[in-house]
């Protein structure tokens, strides 16, 4: 950094002191570290979560204290912005103080400096030559050219000709670009942050709605933002086939509704998968309409491939099930022979069953469910230890009598172990963490009809006083096969008998009087799109380029200056070589030794 040698300022002393302190390197170093340390807070404490979660986590006292310190949204709060602003002011003062002398220095080359100045250069070599002045000059020019320097003859104060050469004359651009880049970056960021809105929030003309369950039409006008906002960033979840003209922006513990400059219809949504069931891509097809209903753009929005339309960017951000119709088959364990009742429902719906004693609420539905193979008792050998369990529905069963709650996971695809198919049903009581599984053997036509009928037949046989014996099992299985018209071959029959015994064992621990099997689904997706308008992006990109380019020049383009003076004498001329470098003096010293050797060779 340059030190201000002469007092350039004419302001009063107090201002001069303030400016000097603000622009000082010490302050800069401390501010940089202070911002760094302050930034840690927001990484330790998850930001912008639901406020009630914080209150559970910290208790009412600390929740309030942290709330007053704005720790839940620390990077947008006053005190953090204040420190950053202070850093930027300090940088700006530093640039304003240093730029004029630096520009002056780059414009005016100190080509004929004083003898005192030259004597103070770190590099100084002397050699002698018997040649004439002109010849020496020529040799010196040639030597300099070999080292990549373009020499310039200049007149010194005494009117004598000397040589001056320099590289990296504009090295100070490195300092200017980096620091101006940082300032520009912040300007762009402020532009993107939509200051007028922040102001409106602060003064209370706009205030965020706190009730997240309110339908769009009921949200008060003071929470709406016009589509002409210069900058916005919000999210909206749209079911396939629907059209929206607004989206939501989270602010503190509430939200604002942002009018969109167009109407957006989600035409389709698709998830593609890798061969092992992991998600490969999420693709939304959207159509954009003017407010008068005229279509003006159709296209796809993928992860990493946003759609750009007149300054607005649309991103694929999330997706969810949107009331897909799920079909479940409900068997009664008290009378397993009855054909199952069909239940139609969607996630989020609540149903009553078993004479209203049980309430079923559907919680989650996934089309793909990749889990570790070990979790279902398979060796982790092939497919990298993961297995795709296929479509899965999970629901909560509430017993209205004793208020126990059971979580059930039901799979649609059979699960194969040693080439034999089972239907899995997982269950766990609320509060316990491990699922127990029913593994019910399937017949060749899928489904558990055969098993249920067989169970029914066995129960009837038991009621008639028959003892458990291999002959009874075989007889009843044959009976069940005849009843369901599902026939097993000899090998499968043995396996089925074995597995049924195991399944019946498992059923003893099963706490419900009915068994629900996931049978079929009709898919309905909704896609979460993020929509932004950031007018400051160009400024930010320019700033970033300036920053990187500036750092490069700052570190790797030193300014190197060489002066060659010739003191003519009667017989021998003395040649003085002075040089300095703004960086990396050690390499430069070696270069200058080489240059001096070259020069002596040519003389």
């Amino acid at each position: 950094m340059l030190e201000a040698h002469a007092p350039v300022y004419t302001e009063p002393l107090s201002i001069r002191i303030v400016v000097r302190v603000l622009g000082s390197m010490r302050l800069a170093v401390h501010l940089l570290l202070f911002v760094a340390i302050a930034s840690i807070i927001g990484t330790v404490l998850p930001q912008q979560e639901v406020y009630t979660d914080y209150s559970h986590q910290f208790g009412p006292f600390w929740f309030t204290v942290f709330g007053h310190l704005d720790l839940y949204d620390v990077y947008r709060c006053g005190w953090y912005m204040g420190i950053v602003a202070f850093l930027i002011i300090s940088t700006t003062v530093c640039v304003l103080r240093n730029a004029p002398p630096m520009v002056r220095e780059m414009r005016h080359v100190p080509s004929s400096p004083s003898a005192h100045f030259l004597q103070k250069r770190p590099e100084h070599f002397t050699s002698t030559s018997a040649k004439a002045h002109g010849e020496i000059l020529q040799s010196a020019v040639a030597a300099l050219r070999d080292f990549g320097y373009q020499a310039r003859p200049v007149q010194d104060n005494a009117g004598k000709t000397q040589l001056f050469a320099q590289k990296g004359r504009f090295y100070r651009i490195g300092y200017l670009l980096t620091h101006v880049g940082i300032i520009l970056f912040c300007v762009g960021a402020i532009y993107n942050a939509n200051l007028p809105l922040k102001w409106a929030e602060w003064t209370g003309t706009v205030h965020p709605e706190k009730n997240f369950d309110l339908p769009l039409s009921k949200i008060p006008q003071s929470s709406w933002l016009s589509s002409s906002s210069s900058a916005f960033r919000g999210i909206i979840t749209i079911p396939v086939g629907q059209t929206v003209n607004a989206m939501f922006e989270l602010v503190g513990d509430g939200f604002l509704v942002q009018h969109l400059p167009f109407m957006l219809r989600l035409d389709a949504f698709k998830v593609t998968h890798y061969s092992n069931g992991l998600a490969k891509d999420f693709v939304s097809t959207v159509s954009l309409y003017h407010h008068d209903g005229k279509l003006f753009k159709t296209g796809i929005v993928r992860v990493n491939h946003p759609m750009s339309v007149s300054g607005v960017q649309i991103y694929q951000s999330s997706y969810s099930d949107s009331a897909s119709r799920l079909q479940l088959h409900n068997y009664l364990l008290s009378d397993p022979g009855l054909p199952p009742a069909t239940i139609n429902a969607a996630v989020g719906e609540h149903l009553k069953t078993f004479g209203s004693q049980y309430a079923i609420s559907l919680r989650d539905f996934k089309t793909q469910n990749v889990i570790p193979r070990k979790a279902v008792g398979l060796s982790s050998g092939a497919h990298h230890g993961m297995i795709n369990m296929g479509p899965t529905v999970s629901y909560l069963v509430n017993n209205d009598r004793d208020h126990t709650q059971i979580l059930i996971k039901s799979y649609m695809k059979p699960f194969s172990r040693h080439d034999e198919d089972y239907r899995l049903i997982g269950f766990r009581e609320m509060g316990s963490t491990t699922y127990h599984y029913l593994t019910i053997p399937q017949g060749p036509q899928h489904g558990i009809r055969l098993f249920m009928t067989y169970l029914d037949d066995l129960e009837q046989a038991a009621r008639h006083g028959e003892n458990a014996s291999k002959a009874v099992f075989l007889h009843n299985l044959d009976k069940a096969q005849a009843q369901t018209r599902v026939f097993l071959n000899v090998h499968d029959r043995d396996w089925f008998l074995q597995s049924s015994l195991k399944a019946m064992q498992e059923l003893r621990a099963y706490p419900l009087p009915f068994l629900t099997v996931f049978h079929h689904y009709d898919l309905h997706w909704s896609a979460g799109l993020e929509i932004t308008r950031y007018p400051g992006m160009k400024i930010i990109y320019i700033a970033c380029f300036a920053l990187v380019f500036g750092i490069f020049i700052l570190f790797y383009v030193p300014r190197r200056r060489i002066w060659i003076q010739i003191d003519e004498d009667k017989e021998k001329s003395r040649i003085n070589l002075f040089a300095d470098s703004s960086r990396n003096e050690e390499d430069f010293h070696r270069d200058m030794e080489d240059l001096n050797a070259q020069l002596q060779e040519k003389l």
Binding site: M1, L32, S39, G42, G148, K167, N304, Y534, F552, R559
Partner: protein, 393 residues
Amino acid sequence: MSIETSEIRHLLTFGGMRAEGRLAAQLWAAFLTIGAFLVWYLFRADFWMWQFIVLGLWYAGLMWFGIRWPAFRILFLVVIGIAAIGVGLYQSGYTAANSAALYYVFQSTSMFYWMSAAILISAIGYYRYLFSGHQSAGDWGHRFAWVTVALGFAGLAIRWQETYIGHPSWGHIPVTNMYDAMVLLCTTTALFYLYYEGQGKNRGLGAFAMPMILVADIFLVWVGVAYHQNQIQPVIPALQSFWIKLHVPCEFIAYANFYLAAMVGVAYLLKEKAERTGGALVSRLPDLNKLERIMGSMVMFGFLFFTAGTILGAVWAAKAWGGFWSWDPKETWALIVWLNYAAYLHMRSNKSFGQHNKGRKLAWWATISLITVTFCFIGVDLFLGGLHSYAKL
């Protein structure tokens, strides 16, 4: 700009080089130029603006490195040679199941085990050199450091091919989980160590750099064995981006340099202590001023690439997450690391800070920064999560 015409002429004619060096450099330039043209010719239909820019940057970077550092040219050819064998075997239909060469040597996971062995030998060699002064131990350390780099980069190239084997739709650059990341860190750090060793002509620092790489390597083996991260998985949609090929290498060049700077910091502090109390370290490490300069140039190089890498990451985030900057834990920690080294460089460049013990202060600072960098690199993934934790275990 600041480069004048005579300088460019100077560069283009390889001026300032001895004759034999000049010929090799010219061959290198010709080789790279032909290579770049070939890449352009083969892929020009698939390329778009940024890919041409990246090709240009790689061309310039390899050219600069190769001309400045002749040993790098040989390394480059050796890496291509080893990788070609491995890729060739896969291309001709062999797999690790039916080819002993692939199973024992050329499949990437085996190659990384060999690399680990090389790191161990190299670390022991350098360590022995530093404390007992065996010149030959230092030489072996040096040789095996080269083996590390060659096997590491070749292994990564082969791994890239492996991502396509069996599942053509899975193909991706192998920098997407903690395992891949640690391989990249080990090799890049070893490469930069060797560069600085060549510049400083001193092997003493190897006893600090290679053991540090060994620690990273032990972590690498552990995530491979304990979490099966050595098995190739397809990448999630958010990582399927062109920008990953720019963002990740930049960050790792930066991390490598920051780590090395920290190790030089340790060396500085030990040497300073040895100068006061006496010890073997005094004679086999560069003098304190030189150590400080090496440390500074490492931080500078790292800082340049860290800035570029973080910005590229932000550009990517603007495409993937809808925002240039989201205050995600990883982003915030990147900012913390950046601010930390920015403060370091300001203090280093400025004369207004007391010159008394400045080297020692900077050495302590660089050493302590190791914690910050490690937290940014691994800690965030392990402890904090957020949008960025692809590499979580």
